[in-house]
């Protein structure tokens, strides 16, 4: 990692995005103290993580699709062990309450090994809330979940943020997830921050939207009306024109096509998404400024 620096305010969700090998998981591992950074410092609640490890870790927690609980023992036994590790008061009551909230009450006697991916994620979320954390670090918590379970998990995370004013660091490959739940996104590439903004702010930095218009009329009139005025104009079919231009010029492009004496039949506008930002970085276009 190279000069990665960011802060997380109470009740906010910061997303870490980037291609494979960008350093997302390494960042999370450093944030929870299982990997040591070469330099710099990590501070929670004004305290240095490595000098005040116990005090910091008592107030944070972690949830990942890659880190599991002990496979051989039951869900209940796992949660009892973790409750003790966090010195949770009235642990059994807490486990039962959280278990009911996440719908895992019926799984308590099952060995962790026998659970489905979705069930494991919910048990992991219970584990992640046992100590009433103020910060939760989530490393691709929805990876390997089917879309329905992933959506439910995201809803749970959203409701947790609301009900507990949780601060969350969230890594994912799913751009729609990040757009949906994150207040701020940090793009990492080769261990460095290459972009940092709100999801909307980041997509605004990708200048171009794409508008595809189907029309009835003379294609030459359309071409003449558009060429030279917009970034990229192509006519892939006799009755279709595609204009790639800055997002704020899309209405103007549609207006100009209508004024070219043709009848507009269909309009399809594709605005830039976080995925476009991701692709731009992943394909080596570097910094999104």
């Amino acid at each position: 990692m190279d000069r990665v620096s960011f802060s997380l305010r109470k009740g906010r969700i910061v997303g870490l995005l980037g291609p494979n090998g960008a350093g997302k998981t390494t960042t999370i591992q450093m944030l929870v103290g299982i990997t040591l950074p070469d330099g710099g410092s990590i501070r929670y609640f004004g305290q240095d993580l490595h000098r005040r490890r116990e005090a910091c870790l008592q107030r944070i927690n972690f949830c990942s699709s890659y880190n599991m609980l002990q496979n051989r023992i039951t869900v209940w036994e796992n949660l009892v062990v973790y409750a003790r590790l966090y010195r949770v008061a009235r642990a059994e009551e807490k486990i039962r309450d959280l278990g009911a909230y996440f719908g895992i009450t019926d799984l308590m006697r099952q060995r962790f090994l026998t659970l489905s991916a979705g069930q494991k994620t919910r048990v992991n979320l219970v584990k992640a809330l046992l100590n009433d954390p103020e910060v939760v670090l989530m490393d691709e918590p929805t990876a390997s979940l089917d879309p329905d379970i992933a959506d439910r998990t995201l809803s749970l995370i959203e409701s947790l943020r609301e009900s507990r004013n949780l601060s969350i660091v969230y890594t994912s490959h799913q751009m729609d997830e990040v757009t949906r739940i994150c207040d701020e996104v940090i793009f990492l590439d080769h261990g460095r921050i290459v972009a940092q903004d709100t999801p909307a702010g980041l997509t605004r930095r990708i200048a171009n939207a794409r508008v595809r218009v189907k029309f009835e009329g003379q294609r030459n009139d359309v071409a003449r009306a558009l060429r030279g005025r917009f970034g990229e104009v192509s006519l892939p079919a006799r009755d279709v024109v595609i204009v790639t231009t800055e997002e704020h010029l899309v209405p103007q492009a549609i207006f100009d096509i209508g004024n070219a004496g043709v009848q507009i039949v269909d309009i399809d506008i594709r605005k830039p998404t976080l995925e476009d930002v991701f692709l731009q970085i992943a394909r080596g276009n570097g910094r999104v400024a």
Binding site: I34, E54, L57, N67, M68, Q70, V81, R84
Partner: protein, 264 residues
């Protein structure tokens, strides 16, 4: 950082759950020990009929005492691996649990297992096969137990350190490395039959003194305080060395990211 008894008890509780629910642990610990005491009991009974009975007992004595090392070292090293294999080990260190607390818990767990299993096999050896270890004196047994336990702690910590640093690809050491010490510590035969150079090497390991004292104790149950003292001092040195090595390897493992990668 303050040591928390509650966190130590959490690790012990997890050990109890894993032990109770794992066929592998039950086979590797009680089953293996029981088979060992029974098989070598019969071998000793047979050898006693064709050779000097005392000499035959040496083999049995070494076998029983070696179980203390095997059980303790197995428990120390495998305790971590059960969690690594479950992708749960690093999860535990994202809680306030410190590595010191974890190691203390593993040492306690290993000691409990060793006491229980050693007690059972000593009882079987005495009742079924007529070798009463108490003939060598309570003091000799207690000193020998402590010395073997402590030596196994050192070996266990050393192996854990290597696994943390190099990953689970060398996890076979958790079972195999301790066997290096079996021929070197004269577990089954008197030190005097080893070549002089190897005797010098053997005297560098605390179990050698324990096995020698145990054999001598069968005929004269007096404590050789000089040898016991040397063994304790060597154990102190080995434990300090293995603790330093373990801490170094653990720190390097976290610096290189290997500690987190061990579960990938």
């Amino acid at each position: 950082m303050a040591v928390s008894l509650e966190r130590i008890s959490a690790v012990l509780l997890q050990e109890l759950y894993i032990t109770a629910r794992s066929v592998e642990v039950m086979v590797d610990l009680p089953f293996w020990s029981l088979m060992t005491v029974i098989v070598f009991g019969f071998v000793t009974r047979f050898l006693a009929t064709v050779m000097n009975p005392t000499v035959a007992q040496y083999l049995y004595l070494g076998t029983l005492l070696w179980e203390i090392i095997r059980i303790t070292q197995y428990s120390m090293s495998l305790g971590a691996l059960w969690n690594v294999w479950s992708h749960n080990f690093s999860n535990m260190f994202i809680t306030p649990l410190s590595m010191a607390e974890y190691v203390v818990a593993q040492m306690l767990s290993a000691a409990v297992k060793a006491v229980l299993m050693f007690g059972v096999i000593v009882l079987i050896a005495s009742v079924v096969f007529g070798l009463n270890l108490f003939d060598m004196g309570i003091g000799n047994i207690a000193l020998g137990f402590v010395n073997l336990l402590w030596f196994a702690y050192s070996v266990g910590l050393f192996i854990l350190g290597i696994i943390f640093r190099l990953g689970t690809r060398i996890q076979a050491l958790a079972w195999g490395l301790v066997l290096v010490f079996q021929p070197l510590t004269a577990a089954y035969y008197p030190l005097s039959i080893m070549p002089p150079a190897l005797q010098t090497v053997a005297r560098a390991f605390p179990p050698t003194y324990v096995f020698e004292a145990a054999r001598a104790g069968l005929s004269a149950p007096a404590i050789n305080w000089a040898d016991a003292g040397v063994a304790l001092l060597e154990n102190l040195a080995y434990f300090a060395l293995s603790l330093w090595f373990f801490k170094y390897m653990y720190r390097r493992s976290r610096q290189t990211g290997q500690f987190a990668r061990n579960e990938e």
